[in-house]
């Protein structure tokens, strides 16, 4: 259980510009992000010997390898389940580094999520696989988008605990406040008020426009190496205290509607239990978080999954300013997927690394440990980053 504790570190981060129309191929974006990550670490692309991405990423590992002039690869892999792969790709890299399969593994995700294939376009397909049979139970009724799937669980949770539109709005506004000062962010210099939030159009009740993440073009990459080696590299390492993937009984991709309890996130609870055990830490040791935020409701529910408050108490935690820079748990201090950009969660991990380095545009006072999670409603994962 403790075998991955303090074994690896994120030693480099790289991001392209985030936009609504990159005018470039995903390979171009991925290549720029990967080179930026290794350069940030003080390494050369030829020192890359491992590459990991998402199954949803259009650019294969060897395309990136040839493009950037990587070295010989001894580890390459892809992780399934959309944004659930954000921590998953790092998990693959950590295991590879910890077991000596590779020394310098770069994880990447590059997408034209606005100008190209948009998530809101919905799922479709021709070949009969068990996965497509799964989606077909929802497609046939017109339930085709991530918002529609998440809304079903959000509505149940909100009804059970009396969570209001204003409560969701506070999450959107808290993260927009961070984005306002972040030049990379879509929300840079674009404040959001509660009036704006409540007036925004209903998309999939109870979720409004501002409950949804951005649709973005851009790329992100992270360089993972051993904790030992990271000390000698250019940047202050973000050491991985604990990391895990998590999928629980009755798991479907986005539509786990048939479990007894629908007001919790069992896979996040499993991830929490494992990262806390692996790191020897608990919720009270976590100073900031980058909780996956494709939708505002996901942040609310995860506060309970990770034990920052009890069931039904997240709305009060948020109302008291718990997610803000001087609050109990500054969260998504770059604006997150809601207000910086949606690079499938990898940009949230990049921000978690900045928080450990002390380099966020919204750096809270003292940061020892940062919690990061990946996609909600899908097979997912979580990790805790700490100082070297």
């Amino acid at each position: 259980m403790n075998s991955l504790h303090n074994k690896a570190a994120i030693a480099g981060i790289g991001c392209t510009e985030f936009s609504k129309a990159s005018g470039r191929s995903e390979l171009s974006l991925a290549s720029e992000a990967v080179v930026a990550a290794v350069t940030d670490a003080g390494l050369a692309p030829s020192e890359i010997d491992g590459l990991v991405s998402y199954t949803l990423d259009p650019t294969d590992e060897i395309e990136v390898a040839r493009s950037v002039g990587a070295g010989d690869l001894t580890f390459f892999s892809k992780v399934n389940y959309g944004g659930g792969a954000a921590v998953g790709v790092v998990h693959q890299a950590v295991m590879a580094v910890a077991t000596g399969q590779a020394n310098n593994v770069v994880v990447y995700r590059a997408m034209n999520g606005r100008s190209g294939q948009r998530n809101g376009q919905g799922v479709s397909g021709q070949i009969v696989t068990s996965d497509l049979v799964h989606w077909s139970w929802y497609q046939v009724y017109g339930m085709l988008t991530p918002g529609s799937w998440i809304a079903m669980i959000a509505n149940k949770y909100m009804n059970k605990y009396g969570v209001t539109a204003e409560d969701l709005g506070r999450v959107a506004i808290s993260q927009r406040n961070y984005a306002v000062t972040n030049p990379r962010a879509f929300g840079y210099q674009k404040p959001l008020t509660m009036e704006d939030y409540l007036a925004s159009k209903m998309i999939a009740s109870p979720l409004r426009l501002y409950d949804f993440c951005q649709e973005s073009d851009g790329g992100c990459a992270l360089l993972i190496t051993s904790a030992e080696r990271a000390i000698d590299l250019k940047q202050k390492p973000a050491v991985i205290r604990g990391i895990t993937q998590a999928s629980t009984q009755g798991q479907e991709q986005m539509t786990s509607f048939y479990r007894n309890e629908l007001s919790t996130l069992p896979e996040m609870e499993l991830a929490a239990k494992r990262v806390y055990a692996q790191s020897g830490l608990q919720a009270s040791d976590i100073d900031a978080a980058c909780l996956y935020d494709a939708f505002t409701s996901e942040v609310v529910m995860q506060l309970e999954s990770f034990g920052f408050c009890g069931p039904g108490e997240a709305k009060d935690f948020i109302k008291e300013g718990g997610l803000d820079i001087d609050g109990r748990l500054p969260n998504n201090t770059h604006g997150g997927l809601l207000s910086e950009a949606y690079i499938h969660g990898l940009n949230n991990i990049a921000e978690a690394v900045r928080l450990i380095r002390g380099e966020s545009t919204n750096q809270p006072k003292s940061i020892e440990h940062v919690l990061v999670s990946s996609g909600v409603g899908v097979p997912t994962g979580a990790m805790i980053l700490g100082q070297s």
Partner: protein
């Protein structure tokens, strides 16, 4: 607006789910049942997760249930569907749940625990699928 000429997205049909749609075409809301331990399951799967048996049959559901959760979809609008589109997660009297559409109800009238009953929808192209409506 008149009914859209474009039809809804049809389910892919494989060995594990075609039988269920065949039943719907006959007007039956089927629930898969394990022949060994008798447990019910939906959506259909080839193996019982309780006893690992792949022997199964099905029962014809009463069609009675309550709204466990719901969402009203406004945007984006896909051809083949009418908006606002009320999607319901129905807890059937038999104990399994099914994701479906609520018809004969205003979007602002759908509520948790609302009693509903199955009504078989027949599209212009002859495709049939179970909808639900408020219990009469």
């Amino acid at each position: 607006m008149s009914e859209s000429l474009v039809s809804r997205i049809k389910p892919v049909l494989g060995l594990d789910n075609k039988w269920w749609w065949d039943q719907a075409a006959e007007g039956v809301l089927a629930i898969q049942r394990c022949q060994v331990c008798q447990s019910l399951r939906h959506p259909p799967r080839p193996m019982c997760d309780q006893c690992q048996s792949q022997e199964w049959d099905f029962i014809s559901a009463s069609g009675k249930g309550t709204v466990c959760s719901f969402t009203v979809l406004h945007h984006p609008k896909f051809p083949g569907y009418d908006y606002p589109l009320i999607i319901v997660l129905v807890e059937l009297a038999e104990g399994t749940r099914i994701t479906s559409q609520l018809t004969g109800c205003e979007p602002d009238e759908v509520d948790f625990d609302m009693p509903v009953e199955m009504v078989m929808q027949r599209d212009a192209d002859g495709f049939q699928l179970p909808y639900f409506r408020p219990s009469q």
